[in-house]
Symmetry: C2
């Protein structure tokens, strides 16, 4: 089962995405990071965002609403995208983001965030980069969240040219 | 000065926005909430999102990058929109959000979040509602963040038909 999961994930990644092959960002490069969202994460996020929607805390209510379990806040999952970008490009400034919440993320799910550079333009010694942004659930091909982001990067040099996910 | 600020804010609100006049949401209704983002909020958000972009923590670096002060994470400011919607409609499920980060939000800024219902459709005893979403800074007319959201509401009854902001 573990082997199957490993295979699925790597097939997915190799089929859909080119790797980052140098320390300078190019169109087509993909940055990625995985994370499991815990009950504590959901509570901490509610404390700072003030979003106490009961779907995130009341399992019974979440089930009555048609979900399998308590939901992770969609905007907490979305925070993966600026996190991934700024961890590679400190000083990155976010310009825009579109978000389509396509499938629920439950407490305990492992989410793989994928950020792919799709367009790149230099202006005044900075770089305006468009990214496609996607989150995939539990080593499957299920896209739970996708959209596009634009950020201004101070440089195209990757601070962390490799990670445990790459 | 306080009177001027109060006047500015209320002129803005009365000129641009119709009020919520009943306990049932209608197209045109506006929900709003204000908040000041502190250093502690920025730190707490970084801890849960893992987004440690130095623009949020290093004042000198933020100034060198052309900003007046340390920035509040854009996605933390964006969290006002689902917070406002779910505080009035517990059990609301977020479907989509677009975000345009138009102007920086600094630590200490007071941000007024405005969420206006623009379209409404009933389906299977639930309600799909589109909202225009906007954040305005420091009692001015400066829009720092705008976009659109879609959410599925379990009911159109407002849990809190009035607030300190309305």
């Amino acid at each position: 089962m573990l082997a199957k999961t490993f295979l699925q994930r790597n097939v997915l990644v190799s089929r859909c995405l080119s790797s980052v092959t140098s320390s300078t960002l190019k169109v087509g490069d993909v940055l990625r990071e995985a994370r499991v969202y815990s009950s504590e994460d959901v509570k901490s996020y509610a404390e700072v965002s003030h979003d106490w929607n009961p779907l995130h805390f009341d399992q019974e209510l979440a089930r009555k609403a048609g979900f399998e379990n308590r939901l992770v806040h969609g905007m907490l999952v979305s925070s993966m995208f600026p996190r991934i970008i700024s961890s590679h490009f400190p000083g990155a400034v976010y310009v825009s983001q579109t978000l389509h919440f396509r499938s629920p993320v439950y407490v305990g799910d492992e989410i793989l965030g994928l950020v792919q550079a799709t367009a790149l333009r230099e202006t005044k010694n900075k770089y305006i980069v468009k990214f496609s942004t996607k989150c995939i659930k539990n080593h499957s091909e299920l896209v739970v969240l996708d959209g596009e982001a634009t950020a201004v990067l101070p440089s195209l040099e990757l601070l962390q040219p490799s990670s445990s996910e790459r």
